[in-house]
């Protein structure tokens, strides 16, 4: 079909993205008018941009919920699912900014990187923009653009601590891995286009549903190859095995606000995109099993690899790999209602229980993982900060190994050895970390248990035998994961330390406490979160344009 000329109606549902774009431009323009390069102005501009984007998102809610338009000739889909994922992404970036204000702000000043501040926020906003687009498309071309748009700023963000070796190394790994997976993805996409003559996955799914026999023989092989390439690209964002190798290095090397951002936002966008791919390709008989298998491998790998880590950021990085695995397992319940393939010309919203699980899980994961990372940042700040005189004394007093073992470069406050005796040294932060870790383990009274229950319920509702395999895998992984989460808890609560108490009262502690307490409060509000997730778990299915006319 001829590409329709975009009209104003096409732009209205994109108001949040446009706001982000505008905010980025403003952030970039600030140094021109503010020669002193006041970093606070940039930060405030970015925050205002995020708030404005949230407001714009709220404004477009009725459109997404009731009209669910496809924009630009099917390149972008604004349905309830996309709306909800974008809400999560933008909201979470707000939390990252709160972390920046309370933690990284000082470090920017201390390292006299003030001149870089506008770039930092521009990159953050543009990565967010790319992630928002990732959540709203089934078009292969748009997918590629969105993924790259999210990735390129992320590479720079990962290496933003230019003076530090680990940061530079992390960024380098990230770029190389990203470039390779992008190339593979483009190759896979080209195969899919060659097979079906369309770039829209929904049309591909439609074609497969109309003619299941088309997946046999060499056709099927090529299709599987194409899908493999596509998944390599998306899996890179999700950090699913085997595309996860960048994850621990990048998470360790990047500054903690960037790590926090990548650990949730980047994964969320990737998983949302994968969900879209899954629903569009639901007619492919093995796609659900594929997601389940990858998910099981991913969570086992992540949990086993997390075990020996001594750096809290690396440990949480592997834990986030494992959680992506859990979500993938749940997402394998692709659809649960609505027409899979509608009659010609009909545009249908498909209810997906996998998407419901994903939204439910992601929303709560924001608080589990976000809380853990913010607390880790707070602990590091208090350990190394100007008021935390305990650092050097603490090392000599409690670490039997020579202090030289502790890297003087980065992460000195992120080494688990310094967590000894935190119960006494910093009771509030130890408690917030405890709550977040229990939540990540999946212990009752925290949202982590809610996500486990929901995950099990979604799996069992599919009624398939494979679901029990998923249930068993998650059950075993919960016990494996308890080992290493409890290693941190043991270090904080059971290992004594002679080091003096830390001064805990700081803005970042407040953020950590708020996030941690939501881990408990939202558990009580299970029903509301679930209602929210269920009412947004609707994805656009087959497009309005007649089959065969796309591309």
């Amino acid at each position: 079909m001829p590409l329709a000329v975009p009209t104003a109606r096409d732009f209205f549902p994109l108001l949040p993205e446009l706001t982000l774009l505008f905010a980025g431009v403003v952030v970039l323009a600030i140094p021109i008018f503010s020669p002193r390069k006041n970093i606070l102005v940039s930060a405030i501009a970015a925050t205002v941009g995020i708030l404005a984007a949230l407001a714009a998102l709220a404004w477009t809610w009725p459109v997404a919920m009731h009209q669910s338009p496809t924009l630009f000739g099917g390149l972008l889909l604004i349905d309830p699912f996309s709306w909800c994922v974008r809400l999560l992404l933008i909201f979470f970036t707000g939390i990252v900014l709160a972390l920046w204000f309370t933690d990284s702000h000082d470090k920017f000043l201390a390292r006299s990187q003030a001149g870089d501040a506008p770039e930092f926020f521009l990159l953050l906003l543009m990565a967010l923009l790319g992630m928002c687009l990732m959540a709203s498309t089934t078009n292969l071309l748009m997918m590629f653009i969105a993924i790259e748009m999210a990735s390129l700023p992320s590479y720079v963000l990962a290496g933003f601590r230019k003076t530090q070796r680990l940061g530079a190394e992390a960024a380098m790994k990230y770029v190389l891995f990203g470039a390779a997976s992008a190339a593979v993805m483009a190759y896979g996409m080209s195969l899919l286009y060659g097979l079906f003559g369309t770039l829209d996955l929904r049309l591909i799914g439609h074609a497969i549903a109309a003619d299941p026999a088309s997946l046999t023989g060499s056709h099927g092989l090529l299709f599987a190859l194409g899908i493999t390439g596509l998944l390599a690209g998306v899996g890179f964002k999700v950090a699913m095995v085997p595309m996860h190798f960048w994850c621990p290095d990048v998470f360790q090397g990047a500054s903690i606000d960037v790590t926090t951002f990548l650990s949730v936002a980047s994964k969320a966008a990737g998983l949302a995109l994968l969900m879209r791919i899954g629903v569009a390709l639901a007619p492919v008989p093995w796609f659900s099993t594929l997601l389940l298998t990858i998910g099981i491998i991913t969570c086992f790998w992540g949990n086993l690899a997390a075990y020996p880590q001594m750096d809290i950021k690396r440990l949480l990085a592997w834990s986030s790999v494992a959680h992506a695995g859990y979500m993938l397992i749940g997402m394998s319940a692709l659809t649960s209602g609505g027409p899979l393939v509608a009659g010609a010309g009909a545009q249908d919203l498909i209810m997906s229980s996998g998407a419901e699980l994903l939204l439910f899980y992601l929303f709560l994961y924001v608080f589990m993982n976000g809380g853990a990372f913010v607390t880790a940042a707070a602990i590091a700040q208090r350990l190394t900060g100007p008021t935390g005189a305990g650092m050097s004394i603490g090392v000599s007093a409690m670490v039997p190994a020579p202090a030289a073992l502790v890297s003087p470069d980065v992460g000195s406050g992120e080494d688990l050895r310094h967590y000894a005796g935190l119960m006494r040294r910093a009771p509030i932060l130890a408690a917030t970390m405890l709550v977040c870790l229990l939540s990540l383990t999946g212990i009752p009274l925290t949202v982590g248990f809610a996500t486990k229950v929901k995950l099990f319920a979604v799996l069992l509702n599919t009624g398939s035998a494979a679901a029990w395999v998923g249930v068993a895998a998650v059950g075993i992984n919960t016990v494996i994961a308890a080992f290493y989460y409890f290693r941190v808890i043991r270090q904080m609560y059971l290992t004594p330390s002679e080091a003096p108490p830390l001064i805990e009262i700081a803005p970042v502690t407040v953020v950590a406490v708020v996030l941690a307490s939501l881990n408990v409060l939202l558990f009580v509000g299970y029903g509301w979160v679930e209602y929210g997730a269920a009412s947004h778990a609707w994805l656009l299915g087959v497009p309005l344009i007649p089959a065969g006319a796309g591309g």
Partner: protein, 532 residues
């Protein structure tokens, strides 16, 4: 405010509020933590007694029918799953609830020796109390599971922070054993969810324990001919394994000696007196009512596990040099009687099992306290290095003798009644009043195994007497040792705690009817439900 509907919720909230108040005490006021905790423990006990006075024991038939549940309160919680906040008590949970609040008060009283991080200790103690109360009052399966699991955490920290030299190992071992067990329980719960989906008017699954046990549709679903029969066979063992870790039975018991040896004295008391009961309570509340047919099928294996636990626990206790380890293994042995009593599930044996739960709660708390008093003075628990305490600490020895004889099951003390009833129940089980009435008597016959079970369990009483008397002899008799010369006499708290527990053991031993009469309707109802 305080009404029949809300009293249990207040009972649950009171310790939580107390714990939060203790945490909020300013650092300089840490000394106040113990008095505050004591006040809240007393208040909880009083509230519990008030609830008990509102409780109609004659109505306490354990039919799990709505009428037998008293002081109940329910509000929907998770619509899509069908889970509710549903609390209530019946004749089974009320005695255990009283045991919990009473023993926790005594343990709190006994916590005078805690010097490290006092605020944290007493706050955790109160949170533990809240978790335990939650287990005994929840009648929603998911809620039950949540409290069951949550009560793990305070225990982990109480052992891990305030414990002995190998506390970290003991704490994580305790934690992982129980976590593994509860994963099994969770999977069984999920299966129940899966099979009862849509049976709720809301469209959710059924988590209401009363309905799960009494609804004819669900009962037939899990019966031999129901289409969830194969699931039910697996689920019974998953639940059994999960609860058996807590009881604990051989071979899932190895966490227990470590946890007990490392835990501080008051925590050992709670662990033995209450936490071990959670497992048995879980069997009585969940496994047997939900899967009666499977329980009847497996009576032999359950009974065998019980007998093995009785014998193995007693034999290993005989070999211990460490006083506390000896008491810990004796717990394994004593809880084996509970399992054996449940296995045959006739009125006599069930009454014995429930009585044994309460009696063991009293005697084990007393025994651990006796060990604790000695350890405070001698700073070791090596039995061969002790001796001759009688002449140096006569009052202590006197009360210790009460504890030893009560644990041993001397007639006139509480340990006797439970074991006797279990044995009577086992020997009379073939007469058609329990599970075994419905068992095919053909192939193997039930008489033989029953005779063996009963005889071996009865023989174990001799072993119990052997290890307890031998220990008593080595610790208290013999010539006085010079190094014990300076042992301080019993302090006021120590004496009164011993007196309280000792009197409880004597009273229940002389008047078992105090407990058995009110339990009668409950036991009849339970047996009818499970075997009917």
């Amino acid at each position: 405010m305080l009404s029949h509907a809300t009293i249990l919720t207040f009972l649950l909230l009171l310790p939580i509020i107390g714990g939060l108040i203790i945490l909020a005490l300013p650092p300089g006021q840490a000394k106040r933590a113990r008095p505050v905790a004591l006040v809240f423990c007393v208040a909880t006990l009083l509230l519990n007694i008030l609830a008990a006075s509102w409780f109609d024991w004659s109505r306490a038939a354990y039919t799990l029918a709505p009428s037998s549940i008293q002081l109940s309160f329910r509000i929907p919680w998770i619509h899509s799953l069908g889970a509710e906040y549903f609390v209530g008590v019946d004749g089974l949970s009320m005695p255990l609830l009283l045991l919990t609040t009473a023993i926790t008060l005594i343990a709190c009283w006994a916590s005078y020796g805690i010097a490290k991080n006092v605020k944290g200790y007493f706050a955790l103690l109160l949170f533990l109390l809240a978790g335990l109360i939650g287990v005994f009052i929840s009648l929603d399966l998911l809620l039950f599971y949540i409290f069951f699991e949550v009560s793990l955490f305070p225990m982990y920290f109480l052992i891990g922070i305030w414990g002995g030299p190998r506390k970290e190992y003991a704490a994580i071992k305790f934690f992982l054993y129980t976590l593994l067990g509860s994963i099994g329980i969770l999977i069984a719960i999920l299966g129940i969810y899966y099979h009862t989906r849509g049976m709720n008017p809301d469209g959710g699954a059924v988590f209401d324990l009363v309905r799960l046990a009494t609804d004819p549709a669900i009962r037939s679903l899990f019966s031999h001919t129901g289409h969830a029969a194969s699931f039910a066979a697996v689920a019974f063992w998953l639940l059994f394994a999960g609860f058996a870790v807590k009881i604990p039975v051989v071979p899932l018991h190895t966490w227990l000696p470590d946890a007990h040896v490392e835990a501080p004295t008051p925590i050992s008391m709670i662990l033995a007196a209450i936490l071990l009961k959670l497992g048995a309570y879980g069997l009585l509340r969940v496994s047997y009512p939900l899967f009666p047919a499977q329980a009847a099928d497996n009576w032999f294996y359950v009974g065998l596990i019980g007998v093995v636990s009785i014998l193995y626990g007693a034999l290993v206790a005989l070999a211990q040099r460490d006083f506390k380890r000896m008491v810990a293994y004796s717990s394994v042995s004593h809880m084996g009687y509970v399992v054996l009593g449940l296995a045959v599930m006739n009125p006599t044996a069930t009454a014995g099992a429930i009585f044994q739960m309460i009696a063991h709660g009293i005697t084990s708390a007393m025994m651990f306290f006796i060990v604790g008093i000695l350890y405070d003075r001698a700073h070791h628990r090596d039995i061969p290095k002790l001796g001759g305490l009688w002449s140096q600490m006569p009052a202590y020895t006197g009360w210790a003798a009460v504890g030893f004889f009560a644990a041993m099951g001397l007639p006139g003390l509480c340990g006797f009644v439970g074991e006797l009833l279990v044995l009577l129940g086992v020997f009379s089980a073939a007469d058609g009043h329990g599970f075994l009435a419905r068992q095919s008597l053909g192939r193997m016959g039930v008489g033989g195994p029953l005779l063996w079970f009963g005889s071996l369990a009865a023989m174990a009483i001799v072993l119990t007497a052997a290890y307890l008397l031998w220990t008593f002899q080595r610790v208290f008799m013999g010539s006085p040792r010079p190094e014990h010369q300076n042992f301080p006499r019993l302090s006021g708290s120590e004496k009164w705690i011993l007196v309280t527990l000792g009197l409880a053991a004597i009273i229940l031993g002389i008047f078992p009817a105090l407990l058995l009469t009110p339990l009668r309707p409950t036991i009849d109802g339970l047996v009818r439900l499970v075997t009917g």
